[in-house]
Symmetry: C2
Subunit: 352 residues, 2 copies
DNA sequence: CTGAAAGCGCTTACAG
DNA sequence: CTGAAAGCGCTTACAG
């Protein structure tokens, strides 16, 4: 009573002399199949090198997969997150036709409560995967812990919580990024130069700073350079405060020839340079192509900006979850982005 | 005799009081529908903001889409194309489950006949789209012309044939890339410096060179810098020939402080510097993170390499065709890659 | 533990 | 010009 050869699950069923639903049970490791039947089917699957047809599978199941994205919104403070968002949306567009839904949960970087609110929605709405920028460490740990318990995979973007065992981390290699900044600052140095590392940040967004500065200093150690390196911590992010601190610093150290700002707030230092007559205009290095930085890069007050392909970070975060959940592909624990050097001359070709 | 509400094409058919096959004809602009029926259906489609279910569509049609990729193979001469290939394969993996098949047609950069052979296979095997690196201009024009006639969309990767009206060009902005090289070379300049532009290429792979050099020279014009800029064209790519030419040039111009190699062969110049005692070690700038360049970047003989995200070029080329053919999304005519600056300090994070 | 059947939303002959 | 029906390769109740 043999039927003619067919394909896929039906062919397996034919060869094993069982119903296709039994084959389905084996494929998805469901219970309710005798050991002997299971083995027979497993063997045939291997022989045939059977690959399930995702198209049919997704269509029949009707399930739509929801990926939540918990990242900061663009605010007047910073438009940095525009780029990851663009990448996320591009990835979403590439795969939405196949039943993958991207749900944006944006929070305000200045307001940890907004983070918590959005984070709770991840748990309430039953998502299948999560991309998370752990801007508030403790709060983020709470949600990733909850995800782990719920079996929801999560990918860290932009900064990592190594203890939290994410499916993947997609973001910058901080130490090496600071190291490169060290190298770049040497283009401005003379014999008597002093360097200045500036960290402008409220306590809350401060935790990546250390690795960056470590990298920066390591460059000078490795080269056996003995230039003095000062550090300035400014805990208010408004211009008057920054200006006041810088004024003081430059008075004390008139030989500062290179300034390295450890985050995206280099424009505040540039603004200071714009308004202050210094004996020597120091080289200025900072992070991220946010609009205000672009402006000062264009007019020459910022010399280098270091970026980590923020759009691609967004794209790859979504695709990592997609590959894991849909394609069952293995995902690498860490994907470190390249460290891009942006100058006035190439900035036009970096979208952000 | 109204049935209860359903979804998709069936719901449209129900509302229009026609068969679903008629709706299908309208959706795909097929003939055989009366104007009045067509209009009625079109209106309902608009009202419902109907989006066809790609999953169902691809499954039912059973068609598999084949994208051909006509790019150089990795040879002992250069491993540049490893990176685009990696991107192409990553894109292929992301979408192959949905019936998209990527067919690699690799040719030998040293052998235009191999290009023609592979190009002909594009036409013979009836592909649905083509990614092409037009390394041999005339031969490439023949194939793109044929594709145009056959209605096969094609995307140029790495270099463009603007006359050939590709669906898209994905590659470097050459002029600006040379312009940036101009800027970078100034880090080495003194009052009496001379600059040297070196083009090491057989005639066949020579056509992008002009735009790059133009950009390079424009930087100096824009800055009103008057440094002499020499040009050296070397038509043999073996080391002895290159060495001989350079020897001669440096004897004639002992004040050369910056050398710009307009393609990926900077390692040949680095090798020369390695073996030659010059009064001043010039700054050396070149293109592409090929293995031999990596080596000299690491040991300091090459100062900067300029890259254009070759892996992403490959990824985006495939995705452009996919978005056009499958998603019917609009594709931008040109996508210029960022101009990455690679130094010893950040090279590890660029895969190629 | 196993199977028969309906259905996911389309496409594709085929009949009229 | 239009429609009824089979089928793409799965999943999912449901029955036994």
């Amino acid at each position: 009573m043999k039927q003619k050869e067919s394909r896929g699950i039906r062919e397996i069923a034919r060869r094993a002399n069982v119903a296709i639903s039994t084959v389905d049970r084996v494929i998805h490791n469901r219970i309710g199949v005798s050991a002997v039947t299971r083995e027979k089917i497993t063997k045939i699957i291997a022989e045939l090198n059977y690959q399930p047809n995702l198209l049919a599978s997704r269509l029949a199941s009707g399930k739509i997969i929801t990926l939540a994205v918990l990242i900061p919104s663009v605010t007047e403070d910073t438009d940095f997150w525009e780029a990851p968002l663009r990448g996320i949306q591009r990835a979403g567009a590439d795969i939405k036709q196949y039943g993958i839904n991207v749900e944006l949960l944006l929070f305000d970087l200045r307001d940890s409560a907004s983070f918590v609110t959005q984070a709770n929605r991840v748990l309430d709405t039953g998502v299948d995967g999560l991309v998370i920028a752990p801007a508030f460490v403790e709060e983020a740990e709470r949600i990733t812990t909850a995800c782990r318990e719920a079996g929801i995979p999560y990918v860290f973007i932009d900064s990592n919580l190594p203890d939290q065992l994410g499916l993947s981390y997609i973001g910058p290699p901080l130490f090496q990024s600071g190291y490169l900044a060290g190298k770049l600052s040497t283009y401005a140095l003379r014999e008597d130069s002093t360097l200045l590392v500036v960290n402008i940040a409220t306590a809350s967004d401060n935790y990546t700073y250390k690795q960056i500065e470590e990298g920066f200093r390591s460059y000078f150690t490795d080269q056996r350079y003995l230039y003095p390196i000062r550090r300035l911590n400014i805990h208010q992010t408004d211009y008057p405060s920054v200006s006041r601190h810088l004024q003081q610093q430059f008075s004390a150290d008139p030989t500062i020839d290179a300034v390295f700002v450890t985050n995206s707030r280099a424009f505040l230092v540039a603004r200071f340079l714009e308004h202050t007559a210094l004996p020597r205009k120091p080289l200025l290095i900072g992070y991220d192509l946010v609009n205000e930085n672009r402006h000062y890069l264009a007019n020459g007050l910022i010399d280098f900006l270091i970026c980590h392909q923020p759009e691609d970070q967004g794209y790859r975060s979504i695709m990592a979850l997609y590959q894991f959940l849909v394609l069952s592909a293995p995902i690498s624990k860490e994907y470190y982005m390249p460290i891009d050097i942006i100058t006035r001359e190439n900035q036009a070709f970096y979208r952000n």
